[in-house]
Amino acid sequence: MEVLLNLTINGIATGSLIFLLAAGLTLIFGLMHVLNFAHGALFAWGAYFGVWIYTQTGSFVIGIVGAIVIGALLGWLLERWIIQPVYTNTMSQIQVTMGLLLVMNECIKVFFGPNQVSVQLPSYLDESWLIGGVILIKYRLFVIAIGILVFLGLQYMLKRTRLGLIVRAGVMNKEMVQALGVNIKKVFLYVFILGCGMAALGGMLFAPYSGVIHAEIGMDYGILAFIVVVIGGMGSMVGSALAALLVGVLGAFMTFYVPSVALAVNMLLMFGVLMFRPAGLLGRG
């Protein structure tokens, strides 16, 4: 029983990290129909720059804020100069964002070197409790709490604010939103910045979680995020949250019990879901 609980908590923590990456991806795809393959690179940049700020300042919180700011700034630059010109051309989007992913990964090696970087947890988060045989690691609970906060914040934004109303309407009919007098391009920019900021936050939280970061983490987690978005239903925030938890928990269990198929399990899960629900768990068919 203790093992099951430990694995579940680990899985939820991993799911929270994947959700931070997938949430932006699904928002961007849902509203803008942009397949952003470079999204994972924001995760890696968030991790590297966040850790760099953390080591320079000694403050983990400043590192987190710095990562979000870097992610948001990069999001602004990328949307304005690289993504906007290819909005209407899906093929160009794929080529441009794939290229961007490679370039951004290589830039990390140029700035921070090709070697892995070790990351220490701040002392106040480096604790654990043993309760009834279950080990509760403080940092994992912290990651889960941030994941929940971000999810609730996004739900609030989508359901209770004018920006959220525009985003939900834009997912359904962009032309009509514009015909009502809304500058949808400005909303695209805000959503892109928000998505990139969340990806960078995910990267920064991942760094001490894994203890070591390398330039390719963006690719690894980017693929996971895409799988989550497809399973959850492209454009569905709640679907992404559910799918991220599913992928995280299933991954934790499979790695423990059947490590030989752990790598394939996400693909199998995706095939399984799409067989019965082609639009994903909560996607619109």
């Binding site: 939900r168 309407a169 939103v177 514009q178 015909a179 009502l180």
Partner: protein
Amino acid sequence: MMTLLKVDRIETYIDQYHILQGVSFEVKKGGVTVLLGRNGAGKTTTLRSLMGLNPIATGAITFKGEAIHHLPTYEIARKGIGYVPEDQGVFPDLTIEENLKLAMRKTDEATLERRDWILQLFPDLKTFWKKPSGLLSGGQKQMLAIARACVNDNELLLIDEPSKGLAPIMVDKVMSVIIEMKQRVTVVLVEQNFYMASTIGDDYYIIDDGRTVHTGMMKELKENEALKKEYLGIA
């Protein structure tokens, strides 16, 4: 009467297709101008071009004396032009309240007063206020689409085939609402239903093969059987 909208020899392409090949017309303030024509003549594309959704290649569109054809859609809307598309364009997952809230560019007293006036015109919208608009009937969706276009202080409404797919009783309802709206706003109406068009229209333009080919007062067209047969296929 003052000219509110002037469309001067506009040409519009959709992909490689040359849809509008010289559409010109003028809309006087305070009336209902009807665009008539057979299916595929270019009426819907004309309205979409006015809104900037299908940008024009040549020609000019002026609204209250100001050229608007180079503006993006949202700025055209903010100039005071409301649009009710052929498919109504309601957001199915949003409630009626949210659809209207999204459309409201201001929340001042005048806008709230207009919203209340609209809800009096369309009591069904008030009844299903918190219901997702995707669950409404075709007629109710049409009411919502018109309500959304009227809730701002627009001076011009572009309404595309409001009777399409509606039961006769709903057509009468929509018609009476447009007649009521004439008191407040100028309307450009695209309509295939000649009964509706001729009942509420003041003047008309016939579009054929992407060109305006005839214009006049609606009461004259009602009696011109030859013209109706030639361009509208009404025997």
